[in-house]
Amino acid sequence: MAIIRDVMPAFDLLQPSSAADAQKLLQEHGSDAWIMAGGLDSFDWLKDRIKKPKVLVDLSGIDELKGIRVTGDGVEIGAMTTLTEVAEHPEIRKNYSVLSQAVSVVASPQIRNQGTLGGNVSQDVRCWYYRGGWPCYRAGGNICYADTPVGRNREHAIFGADRCVAVHPSDSVPALIALDAKFVVQTSKGEKTVDAENYYIGPDLDITRINMLQPGDLLTAIRIPSTWAGATFYFEKVRDRNVWDFPLMNVASAIVLSGGAISRIRLAVNAVSPRPMRLKNVEDAVVGKPADASTGEMAGKLAVQGAVPLQFNAYKIPLMRNLVKRAVCGVAGQQAYGALTGDLDTQEVAWNS
């Protein structure tokens, strides 16, 4: 059946002007409702008739969800703040540059101008079978089309798969995990604050949901505590094209060094698993060690332990080993801002070794 993909199907459009109203409407309509932020992800799902909400709740008129506030303890970013604003904000560039760096390599200028941080962290997986409307596990069916001998799974997971092998595609999330960001969620039981890494759930827990949000819930803000302000940061994204593309993998770290040794570290990798991964075991293993190549080697090896490649994505194992290595020791004498991001030569190093 041909789908006229340009034309929106019919649904009720609700345009609340406050977060409280939005939440009320979401609670009222439950699983019939779809939240629309910038609409980049939403548009495709709706036009293609793959998600069929009865009610669309448009957040674009809610001013209180927009903008960045410098608080006594870090910064608070409203869920409806655009990626461009996040990338360019002076306080974020100064003290939390891993986030400006991560966000500034999302897609294209056009998409960063329209896409919001709340939408970026809440976007669904990009698996083409699922996006193409195939009735796979994640869509509520009982098969995974990607995890077959002929399935196209070059971009898919090496960790955390449980029937579904799709990866989380966001560039901002690993940076937010490295910064120990807190996501502020309004639920029917009031406000909840969750650690960035715990916003996500894996297919083992609920295969049809990418994050903890239940029908009726709303992400209102992301808070970055000052704990890691001015730390030594590292971010690197590897993708097929130097611009526009989703990550094949990305890595983010925040490190505090004292006397050449790693005294504190947070480390996250994305596009390797259905859930963005914080590498707690690697963090623990490198604390107290010098930030040098041998610590990096050790970290890289540890990071990929237990990885399970699919037919076409075994390259992700050496890639991850190298990215983790650089995120741990590559920061030693170098100011990470702008280093290596999407650089073809470094990608080759990662691919060939």
């Binding site: 929106m8 669309l56 897609a107 329209q114 526009w244």
Partner: protein, 173 residues
Amino acid sequence: MSARWPTIRMIVNGEQRGIQAPPMKRLLDVLRQDLHLTGTKEGCGEGECGSCSVRMNGELVNSCLIPVLQAQGAEIQTVEGLAPKLEPGGTLHPLQEAFLACGGAQCGICTPGMLMAAAQLLETHPRPTLAEIREGLAGNLCRCTGFMRIFESVLAASTQASQPALRQAHHAR
């Protein structure tokens, strides 16, 4: 039927316009179908190619992914607004001259989007480096030119002091 739809007011290429349209209609379709501004093209319809790029409130966006409700009250510039009141013998925008002179357009499908992205770039970076041009045009795909001629065009538009020089370059080809 259209009476049921809300009125969307926008300033398009400097003119106040009011259109009755389904609020979730794509800005792209409103521009092309309701306002007959067919300069803006659709390539992919999913944010990947940039051929639908327009400027909304001074920012570059993909009009294929903007529900027109989000353009309520906005100021929109399309490729038609680059060289206003274009008549035979009138002046083109320096970027348009440069694209002509340097071979920056072939089939032309990507060109309106490229021009808008380039116009946006030149506003913030009047003398861009090649790296800045690449970044500024990062969301725009071209299947014909191989991009180099487009980058040259933008560079030329940003450095050429006068239009006649560009035209001469064009005629010399």
